[in-house]
């Protein structure tokens, strides 16, 4: 079955005012979503990225230029990624549809792994 990468973009949001109980509820929603994929053997892996913009490298005029990551301007960071199995984009989007990430003003970028 084809694999898809779900890139979870985070808006820096106000977890700061959430109570411990509310935060635990958020974690539990993510866990439940992941578990529902795992139960159907559709989750390959999940990886958290550090919450900084990272680095982008480019060679210009023979010199390698290192700059801050692409999302610095938009104040958006890449929170992490999931690799899931799905028949096609439609199904991948359907599986990501219940991801609680979308309820916390995050965006999900869906990319297919080229398995050819």
């Amino acid at each position: 079955m084809p694999k898809f990468v779900l890139l979870l973009h985070d808006q820096p949001k106000s977890f700061a005012t959430m109570s411990p109980a509310e935060m635990q509820a958020v974690v539990q929603r993510y866990m439940a979503w992941g578990q529902s994929l795992r139960d159907r053997d559709l989750l390959v892996e999940g990886t958290k990225l550090t919450s900084d913009p990272g680095r982008v490298m480019r060679r210009t005029k023979g010199e390698v230029l290192v700059s801050d990551g692409p999302y610095l301007e938009s104040k958006e960071v890449m929170g992490g990624l999931f690799v899931i199995k799905a028949a096609d984009y439609d199904e991948a989007v359907r599986l990501a549809h219940d991801c609680p990430h979308l309820d916390y003003s995050g965006a999900i970028e869906v990319r297919q792994v080229d398995g050819r």
Binding site: F15, T17, A21, G34, L43, G46
Partner: protein
């Protein structure tokens, strides 16, 4: 540390222990307040909040770690040491504080995965600090909920039916007062013991009452208030150095009341009066906890309002059903309670007991005296009780009028439905 990648397929997916975040937050805020000093309560809160946020951002991808509590404690400890190291240039004490926390980490006082640290002492000091008599009463309640029980400002506002901004201000002011009065993070002793413990007990009683008498609003948060109040009361009553007779009496009265919670609403969500409750659905473990503490409370010759209220609750609890209630004993207890706390609500309850012993006419006369005092002019229970007694006395028309009066006053939705159903029954009977 936090950046370690764990493949999701092998991740621990067992559900989190209920209220894990809240419990860990309470313990850690208390621990850091002891280490950093009460003046840095806000910093302690920030450190713990940051650790919870790290978990929130990490666990969805990596899964819940094997020892989530120890994981949170480790992240918080590292974060605290980090922050303090960065402050060393501005604050000479920061280096000393960082060393103390590092020392705890080495000795596995905080972040042990093998044994559960004993937090009771830290938490108790935290309660005593938050309930210090130097703080205004409203601030004590809000601060206890925030720092001890892990409620957010929004949750406190919901629980106390107050404005969020007002709560936030109250918290800021309380923290300033802790610094100004140099309130220490210690267990009271000697002459200070009883007044300090009493102050904490009063706050806990208030929390319980707020939760128990749900006027309106979010029921979930309110059930939490009862649970928290009972937990904090047991913390005090269970610690020999601070367990006064009055603290046992408070735990008894809270446990005996909390035991009835499952029976207060029937399957249809309708309110059920104490005398009509199915006592088989009472929480028997809470009931026996209540009796146990009532007994301990009587080991000293001290009679507080808590003692009397607990004894009243125990008399109700001892009756196998509503009709077997020993109202004579209850009335005698209310007579003593009125002497100690002559509040309108106590006098209202005494009037009910009097009606059960001497008949509705006597009860109505006592009720009229409470009514004349006027301070219950907006309290729905006064006309509701009058309606009840009038109906018993056979004065259906006056009873209906009193029910309608009660319905005009503020009460919760189940209470409103209850009053309406009584009014409807009355109309059916007289028709």
């Amino acid at each position: 540390m936090a950046g370690d990648r764990v493949p999701a397929t092998s991740a621990v997916t067992s559900p989190l222990v209920e209220r894990l975040f809240r419990a860990e937050a309470g313990h850690l805020v208390a621990y850091f307040t002891r280490r950093l000093g009460p003046g840095r309560l806000a910093l302690a809160e920030d450190i713990v909040q940051d650790a919870l946020i790290v978990a929130l951002q990490q666990w969805p991808f990596s899964g819940v770690p094997d020892q989530p509590g120890a994981w949170l404690r480790r992240v918080a400890t590292n974060r605290a040491i980090d922050l303090l190291r960065r402050q060393v240039r501005f604050d000479a004490r920061a280096a000393r504080l960082a060393r103390a926390i590092e020392e705890d980490r080495r000795a596995a006082v905080v972040d042990s995965t093998t044994r559960q640290p004993d937090w009771a002492d830290d938490e108790l000091r935290m309660v005593m600090m938050c309930c210090h008599p130097a703080l205004p009463r409203g601030a004590r309640v809000a601060l206890s909920l925030k720092a001890v029980s892990g409620f957010s400002v929004a949750e406190i506002a919901r629980a106390l039916l107050a404005d969020e901004r007002a709560i936030a201000q109250r918290l800021v002011r309380a923290k300033r007062l802790i610094r100004a009065h140099r309130i220490r993070f210690v267990l009271p002793a000697g002459r200070a013991l009883v007044p300090r413990v009493d102050s904490a007990l009063d706050v806990i009683y208030l929390l319980f009452n707020e939760g128990y008498t749900a006027h309106a609003g979010d029921n979930l948060v309110r059930a939490d208030l009862c649970r928290e109040a009972l937990r904090l009361g047991r913390l005090i009553a269970g610690t020999r150095e601070v367990a006064t007779p009055r603290s046992h009496a408070l735990v008894a009265l809270m446990a005996l009341h909390a035991a009835r919670i499952p029976a207060r609403l029937n399957a249809a969500g309708e309110l059920v009066r104490l005398e009509d409750q199915d006592r088989r659905t009472w929480d028997m473990s809470l009931n026996s906890l209540g009796f146990q503490h009532l007994e301990q409370s009587m080991q000293a010759s001290c009679e507080s309002a808590f003692h009397l209220q607990a004894a009243i609750a125990a008399t109700h609890a001892a009756a196998p059903d509503g009709t077997a209630t020993d109202w004579t004993t209850i009335l005698a207890l209310y007579d003593r309670l009125v002497l100690l706390t002559p509040t309108p609500v106590v006098r209202l309850n005494r009037a009910v007991a009097l009606a059960r012993v001497a008949g509705p006419a006597e009860g109505l006369a006592a009720l009229a005296a409470v009514d004349r005092a006027g301070s219950l002019a907006r309290y729905y229970l006064l006309p509701a009780v009058r309606a009840e007694l009038l109906a018993e006395a056979g004065q259906a028309k006056e009873a209906a009028r009193a029910y309608r009066e009660a319905l005009k006053r503020q009460c919760s939705e189940p209470e409103r439905r209850f009053l309406q159903s009584r009014l409807d029954a009355l109309a059916r009977r007289s028709a």
